[in-house]
């Protein structure tokens, strides 16, 4: 079971709420995904409006709400937004996003680390979105991040696991759950991340902009489960030399 900050999740798929054609379709897709944690951009919701579409469309008892600071350019902005969100009742969970470049939306490593240090001290459960940098992952864990969320490729690009080698190091070294976030465009990408040993994946664009978000959500759920099962079962070693299924190693003489 996936455990983040002491909370147990039976689904290893986390989903986002942006880019959907309607909030009704968003809800249907999220239900179909079986996800238990959803991320919501604070810039999109009006926390002071009890009737806000995004906030009322999903049952807050059914899902762990992971508000995100999408749009923040530096640590100060992210911290300010997080504090206001918590004061308005958004809870302690936070997906920290500090993305100074609005084109690539790449996370700023320096500001993300700064904001993590501040927010952890203030009692937030911080899940930082980060580039797939193993050393940064170490620093963020030392600062008290509840999980790390390295990217597979640029957000929204559907390019899959372009950062594979760094992700492998991050996963091997991790003391907290590793959630591969951003760039996973097909269920096979999600399955690959899970086979590598990622603890969970976060999917938004690939589901939201697909022709049928509900079926795509089901496809991702199945892929995440398959990938995890394969990881737990133990994948065979792959290599360039052919190996027979019934080995005749020629060592029968040994006593």
């Amino acid at each position: 079971m996936l455990t983040i900050a002491g909370r147990i999740f039976s689904s290893r798929l986390i989903v986002g709420t942006g880019k959907f054609p309607s909030s009704a379709l968003m809800r249907a897709a999220i239900e179909a995904s079986g996800a238990e944690m959803v991320t919501v951009a604070l810039r999109r919701v009006d926390l002071n409006d009890p009737g806000d579409d995004l906030m009322t469309m999903l049952d807050r008892h059914q899902y762990v709400f992971l508000p995100n600071t999408s749009g923040a350019r530096n640590a100060d902005e992210a911290v300010r937004l997080a504090r206001l969100a918590r004061a308005a009742g958004a809870g302690e969970w936070l997906k920290l996003e500090v993305t100074p470049d609005p084109r690539t939306l790449l996370p700023d490593p320096v500001e993300t680390l700064k904001a993590t240090e501040v927010l952890v001290k203030e009692g937030f459960i911080v899940l930082p979105y980060m580039n797939a940098d193993p050393i940064l992952a170490q620093h963020l864990q030392e600062a008290g991040a509840a999980a790390v969320m390295p990217l597979g490729s640029l957000i929204g690009t559907n390019q899959g696991l372009l950062t594979r080698f760094q992700l492998e190091i991050i996963i091997a070294q991790a003391r907290v759950p590793v959630v591969v976030d951003a760039g996973l465009g097909a269920p096979s990408h999600a399955a690959q991340a899970m086979e590598m040993g990622a603890d969970a994946v976060l999917i938004n664009t690939a589901i939201a902009v697909s022709g049928d978000p509900v079926r795509m959500a089901q496809a991702f759920a199945a892929a995440v489960k398959a990938g995890r099962d394969a990881f737990e079962a133990g994948l065979g070693v792959s290599g360039p030399v052919a190996a027979a299924s019934s080995p005749q190693a020629g060592l029968d003489f040994l006593r």
Binding site: G18, K19, F20, P21, S22, S23, L42, R43, R44, V45, D46, G71, A72, R73, D76, E77, R80, L81, L84, P100, D101, P102, R103, G156, T157, N158, T205, A208, V209
Partner: protein, 374 residues
Amino acid sequence: MDFPPLFNDLQARLAAVTVREVERSLAAERLDVAGLIALLSPAADDMLPPMAKRSAAITRQRFGSTMQLYAPLYLSNLCQNRCLYCGFSADNRIERRILTIEEAEAEAAILHDRGFSHILLVAGEAPGRLGVDYLEELALRLRDKFAAVSMEVQPLSTLEYARLFRAGITAVAVYQETYDREIYASLHPAGPKRDFDFRLGTPARAAAAGMREVGIGALLGLADWRAEGVALALHLAWLRQRFWQTSFTVSFPRLRPAEGGFAPLAPVTERDLAQLLFAMRLFDHDVGLLLSTREEARFRDGMLGFGPTRYSAGSCTAPGGYGNPALSGEQFAVGDHRSLAEVSAMIRQHGFDPVRKDWDSSFQQAVAQGSQAA
């Protein structure tokens, strides 16, 4: 290519494009400047369907199935400039009006009640009556009610923009009107707007001041729209290289009937406008593309999903016109008269999500009320 480009050079390059170059550009993964010129050339006029398809796919991937909505709030129609095409020109005998801060707040409250979270403050150029003090005071009063407050007023200095940013202004739009220097000079015979280069440097000053978003644009109908489109894209690319933390938008306002009865010098059809918009999307996948109520409902409905990311709705271009629809003194006649609710319903019918809030005033540190920063 250098910026600003020579308009005549752009026209010469556009005229020389072959159909083969257009096909090559359409096949390319990313459009460079030569490719952009190809897609804006007459040789690409028959290629609208494949351009539309790519533009739609890129927009959907980047922005999702959404459309952002905003409304303009006209503060004043006082103006020192004599732009030949504009209803606010000092030469026109229209009913002149400048809203007091309280009147502006009341107009904003109406827009808020109608469901808007993003408003655009608009004013003619009369800095003695409507300057930075006025805008700062108003921004401080509006920032808690609205997720985003943009402005489209006279060009200011970097320090002035920085001060307004701290007061809660999130974005600045300033349109060059035309990138053709000669036509620009003939259309702006008097007033501070005569200075082509000061205006051209304005988006950079706003970005340097830390504004989250900067909007550029050309008023279509003044000069050759194809060359105008290339110049706009070059301006965008020039800004992107220097201000990597700023979001950018591009607007394509077409001349509308206005007081003064100015006839377009170079008419732009709906097909032309569509070609321009698709080419801009293929050139820059991340830029916000605006289509205002200058355009008719039929055109705006049809363009949904093909590239635009932001629509205005329920707009009135006369200061005070939301509270008192009988008021005259408008900048131009709008082409789409539907309310926010009607436009939202249309967006939903087309399978898109109307987005009213996509920012939060908490991103920006508030300055204390009444402080005189900078």
